[in-house]
Amino acid sequence: MIQIRDLVFEYPGHRALHSVSLTIAQGAITALVGPNGAGKTTLLRCMAALETPYAGSVTIDGLDTREAPRAIHARLGYLPDFFGLYDALSVRRCLHYAARAHGIAPNQAAGAAEAAAAKVGLADRMEQAAGALSRGLRQRLAIAQAIVHAPAVLLLDEPAAGLDPQARRDLSQLLLSLRDGGMSLVVSSHILAELEDYSDRMVIVNHGRIAGGQSIALKGSARLRIELAAPRGELKDFLVAQGAQIVEASADQALVTISGGQSERAALLAALVRHDFAVSGFAEDARALEDVYFAQVKAPAGGGDQT
């Protein structure tokens, strides 16, 4: 869906992204996490074709953001971290304008506005002014504006910031329902505890690089800790060859995710033993997502690899 290749972005006197490469899966929710100033927002803005990278490329559905930014805009919705609304307009007018601005025909705009409002649970507030909505409802309206044209990709920058626990839970449900409707979502967030509720994959951005060089599967896969009694330098390459995704790896231990269930784990263990790896530990990693995050953020940043 989204292919990022060797992306470099510079602000005057500061390189924000260092040769980032990444593939964002279709029909999944990918969480983008990392400390403040790590480059998450810049990465999202490059994906949204709002910024022109210094080098490298971003392609969405095969379209390059530099060559066809307007065609890409038609395929995606974007919610910035600090978004604005036309406070004096009613919810209906905000959505009607968003529909028309995204090229929906005048006779279909009212229907599209109502459908978007229904998706985010604002159908009963159509006549209320945007400025009179609570923080959580404003967030919903902003998301409705971003999805009114039914984009294939939705980029959300810190959508949960400033929301109360109930609003956050509602947001998680909303994101899951959008994914189930076939949309691919990239969500930047600081709130790691909630990521596992709705994210399929996690990408850790640190110092303008993808920590570990790839995204980490959070759903439909197991996170395994493998330990060796005798270190083997080729452990990481071997595990990659077996289809495992590396979270962290050294010569004597690795944290990986593998898709599938018990039989896939058994097959991986058998392969390790068959190739004379002295496996002393092979167990599901019980560490919380935060531990994985902090382990990656503290580790030397990697770059380059594709997920």
């Binding site: 949204a48 074709a49 709002l50 930014p69 307007r70 805009h73 038609a74 995606l76 919705g77 974007y78 910035p80 600090f82 978004f83 604005g84 609304l85 036309y86 004096a88 307009l89 007018r93 304008y97 968003a98 028309r100 601005a101 995204h102 090229g103 005048p106 504006q145």
Partner: protein, 259 residues
């Protein structure tokens, strides 16, 4: 309807605001109609109010049509829309200034009525076209300035708006001072202007000059909007404008040389 124009009309031309403007104008014109002769005329008040609505306030509205989007963090959403640069430019230029034009157009009949009575229909219509073009020109210069200024990303929206407003007002005053000098020339018996060795009627020359510069200002707005909306602009239009400005200015110099 152009969605950007529609949205601006919703925001800027509310029935309450329009009623307020109409009420204010009614009050002023009633006062001038009963004022003692020599104090104020409806036409004079109308002209002053036209300048206020179309130029002084209009340039601010035009500049804010972009600067306020950035201030309110809605500009990214607009850049992601499928509204083309042409639609976006017209939508902002005439939508953000809708209330200004409502007030300005109400003033116009009172300004033109004396000219119609004293100099005939053609003179009144010419004057009307000049006033309308002058208003659009000032607003287009303000909009163009704002589109250029936002690239600097100063974060000081008040200063940015003020500078764009000043640019628009300065453009309008520069032209109007030329236009109002026609009467002085006429009194001294000069009713033509020499340009590239040919004599042109002063009034028509000024009108055509204004319309051409208005055209360039609108073209500049369109191209600046294209750049904002991630369309690539070639250098040829800018070069063509420079060539035009050089040829236009040199036309007066060549006449001086001839004489």
């Amino acid at each position: 309807m152009n969605p950007e124009l529609q949205r601006n009309l919703w925001l800027e031309a509310s029935p309450f605001r329009l009623a307020l403007i109409a009420g204010l104008l009614l009050l002023v014109f009633t006062a001038t109609s009963v004022a003692p002769i020599g104090m104020a005329t409806s036409a004079g008040a109308g002209l002053a109010l036209y300048w206020f609505f179309a130029v002084l306030w209009g340039t601010r509205s035009a500049a804010l049509s972009v600067v306020a989007e950035i201030r309110e963090r809605t500009w990214d959403g607009q850049k992601l829309s499928s509204i083309g640069p042409w639609e976006m430019m017209w939508g902002k230029l005439f939508g953000a200034t809708a209330a200004n034009w409502f007030g300005a157009l109400l003033c116009l009949p009172l300004i033109l009525a004396p000219a119609w009575r004293e100099q005939g229909a053609f003179a009144a219509i010419t004057f009307g076209v000049i006033l309308l073009a002058l208003g659009v020109f000032a607003q287009a210069v303000a909009l163009l300035s704002s589109l250029v200024l936002i690239r600097r990303n100063t974060g000081n929206w008040r200063l940015d708006t003020f500078l764009c407003q000043v640019a628009g007002i300065a453009a309008a005053f520069a032209y109007y001072s030329l236009w109002s000098s026609i009467a002085t020339f006429a009194r001294s018996g000069t009713e033509t202007v020499a340009w590239w060795g040919h004599d042109f009627n002063l009034t028509r020359f000024h009108l055509v000059s204004l319309l051409l510069f208005l055209g360039w200002a609108l073209l500049g707005c369109w191209r600046a909007m294209r750049a904002e909306l991630r369309f690539a602009n070639g250098p040829f239009v800018w070069l063509a404008y420079l060539a035009y400005a050089a040829i236009y200015s040199a036309g007066f110099e060549s006449s001086v040389g001839c004489k």
